[in-house]
């Protein structure tokens, strides 16, 4: 960038003239002499020029693939590779927007040709793929009368994949696949929970015969259990721009909490034998069809970590509400249940949940609560959200209202309330 005037010496000429003029009018040569100091500084400022910062920037991370929540130390080494001294150099590092630095990622220094400086700061890793932006260098001359800015690239990338750790078992609803699993059905067969007894038929296993009853009445009968089946579940994360809401600065936003919860749910469901898929309401397309197995798990981990639709900061692009909804509907397998992760801060998410429910997919909404009560407007937003939740519940959609903290207690509380 071309240098420009900082205008910081404007007015000093007036003060110098004032001193000189007072000396002339009062015939005090010493006073006229004193104005020399100001004039000399002005002259220096006049000939001073901001040197172009020709810097060699090297950025190193203590860990370029950390786990979420890990502390990573970033060290930036800067060296003046030009042949002019940089007497006034201000450096601001381009920390990725989703990360927040614990220490200032900024440095003020002066560098002789060949000299170097180091700034290091700690960041707390959050899920996602993070690209560092260029370092901004502001260079001024020694008197600060001229300034120029330069951006210096040093490609650095950090990839932070979440550990797939399971949350409490999410209560699923009675829509199942033909595979055996843990969702209780109303079909008698092999299982754990007592369902009914029926008359003995030839060929029934001896262990299933109700011997107590035989002793009492003399007739043979067979015990039947509730058959348990696996479900097919699609985790639908609301990652539209409207969903990027947080109660305050520095707190994970609703999308991050939703993705965290979805990650936990994914593992829990996969471990209990259900087939799990991932989808997002986002400008960028995101779809992983329901599946099982180690390869599916690895694909999901990668998707949770790096998919742009699930990034911790909103992406670019427009979201075409009705098109996306239709596409999602066409993709959903007929026997799939849907777990929606949405803060429910606008009517659209609630509409999606009800629409999918109406298409015959049983829907459970997990809703991280981003609302606060500090101003009347925020209180209104909270009430609107509560109304949306109760409307959804009236329509037969299950909602877990997740205030803050861990999700497991909320799931426990919700499952205690629901039946079957």
């Amino acid at each position: 960038m071309t240098p420009f005037d900082t205008n910081r010496w404007v007015g000093v000429d007036g003060a110098a003239l004032l001193v000189g003029a007072a000396g002339v009018l009062a015939r005090r040569p010493a006073l006229l002499l004193a104005s020399v100091v100001g004039l000399a500084a002005l002259a220096a400022a006049r000939i001073d020029e901001a040197p172009a910062p020709t810097l060699d920037v090297e950025r190193t991370l203590s860990d370029d693939a950390p786990d979420p929540g890990d502390e990573v130390t970033v060290t930036v080494r800067v060296r003046n590779v030009g042949d002019r001294a940089l007497p006034d150099l201000r450096l601001v590092d381009g920390v990725p927007p989703a990360l927040s630095a614990e220490d200032p990622a900024r440095l003020g220094t002066a560098l002789r040709p060949g000299a170097g400086a180091t700034v290091s700061y700690r960041i707390t890793a959050v899920r996602g793929e993070h690209d560092w932006e260029p370092l901004v260098a502001i260079s001024r001359g020694a008197t600060g009368s001229r300034e120029r800015t330069a951006e210096i690239d040093a490609d650095t990338m950090m990839q932070c994949s979440p550990e797939l750790s399971a949350t409490a078992d999410l209560p699923l609803r009675g829509l199942t696949t033909q595979f055996s699993g843990r969702v209780g059905t109303d079909v008698p067969g092999a299982g754990l929970e007592f369902y009914a007894t029926r008359e003995y038929r030839r060929g029934d296993p001896v262990s299933r015969i109700d011997w107590n009853r035989y002793a009492r009445t003399g007739s043979l009968s067979t015990v039947q259990f509730r058959q348990e089946r696996a479900a097919s579940v699609v985790l639908l994360v609301d990652a539209r721009e409207a969903a990027y809401v947080a109660p305050e600065q520095g707190v994970p936003n609703a999308v991050e909490r939703g993705v965290d919860a979805a990650t936990g749910a994914f593992t829990a469901l996969l471990e209990s034998g259900d087939q799990v898929g991932i989808a997002a309401l986002a400008p960028t397309e995101c779809w992983l069809p329901p599946g099982a197995g180690a390869a599916h798990r690895a694909r999901a981990r990668d998707l949770f970590a790096t998919h742009p639709a699930l990034a911790p900061t909103p992406g670019d692009g427009r979201y075409y509400a009705s098109v996306e909804l239709r596409r999602l509907r066409n993709r959903l397998p007929a026997d799939a249940q849907v777990l929606v992760f949405s803060p429910l801060v606008d009517d659209y998410a609630a509409k999606v949940a009800r629409r999918i429910d109406a298409y015959g997919h049983l829907v459970t909404v997990v809703s991280p609560d981003p609302t606060v009560e500090s101003t009347p407007g925020r209180r209104l937003a909270r009430i609107e959200r509560e109304n949306r939740i109760s409307r959804l519940r009236r329509a037969g959609v299950r909602v877990i209202d997740w205030a803050e903290g861990a999700i497991d207690p909320e799931i426990e509380r919700a499952s205690a309330r629901w039946s079957g």
Binding site: D5, T6, R8, G11, V12, D13, A15, A16, L17, L18, V19, G20, A22, G23, V24, A26, R27, R28, P29, A30, L31, L32, L33, A34, S35, V36, V37, G38, L39, A40, A41, L42, A43, A44, A45, R46, P87, D88, L89, R90, V92, S100, A101, E102, D103, P104, R106, L107, G108, T109, A110, A117, V119, I138, A142, T143, G144, Q249, G250
Partner: protein
């Protein structure tokens, strides 16, 4: 988590208060009335530098300059006036620079090096100018004060006019 606070650095504020105090002492030795003008200047520069107010710092610099003028009108010696002017310049310059650093980088960042280099450069420029000026003054002292004064005046006005003109760019 640290957000950029835009608060000015403490080091610059302390250095500028020190320079302002030096200016105050120099003019106070020449004239007690000058003390009354320069004293609020010290408070304004110091307070402005800590609070990050360029306006207060400029007012303080002006008050310190006023102190120099009063001391000169009361017949202060060239040594005291030069020292007073140098202190005033340094106080204003360092305080303003510290505020700018604070706006760019915040108080928490490591900025001591750039602040010290800037203060040293300004001190050097001012001291050299004062030294040369003082030597010339001593050299021509006792000559034709009025004629020298007129030429000096013309020189000062021409110099200021030249310095005021913006770069053609």
């Amino acid at each position: 988590m640290t957000d950029l606070t835009h608060r000015p650095s403490v080091l610059s504020a302390s250095l500028s208060t020190l320079a302002a105090s030096a200016s105050l002492v120099a003019v106070a030795l020449a004239d007690t009335n000058a003390l009354l003008v320069a004293l609020p200047g010290v408070a304004l520069v110091g307070g402005g530098a800590l609070r990050g107010s360029t306006r207060l710092v400029s007012l303080g610099g002006l008050a310190l300059t006023g102190g120099v003028v009063f001391a000169g009108l009361a017949g202060g010696g060239p040594e005291a006036l030069l020292l007073g002017a140098l202190g005033a310049l340094l106080a204003w310059d360092v305080a303003e620079h510290g505020i700018g650093i604070g706006e760019h980088l915040g108080r928490e960042a490591r900025t001591a090096r750039v602040e010290l280099v800037h203060a040293a450069v300004t001190l050097l420029i001012g001291a050299v100018a004062a030294g040369v000026g003082y030597a010339v003054y001593r050299g021509i002292a006792g000559g034709q004060p009025m004629a020298a004064l007129v030429f000096l005046l013309v020189g000062v006005v021409a110099a200021v006019a030249a310095l005021r003109r913006r770069r053609a760019e």
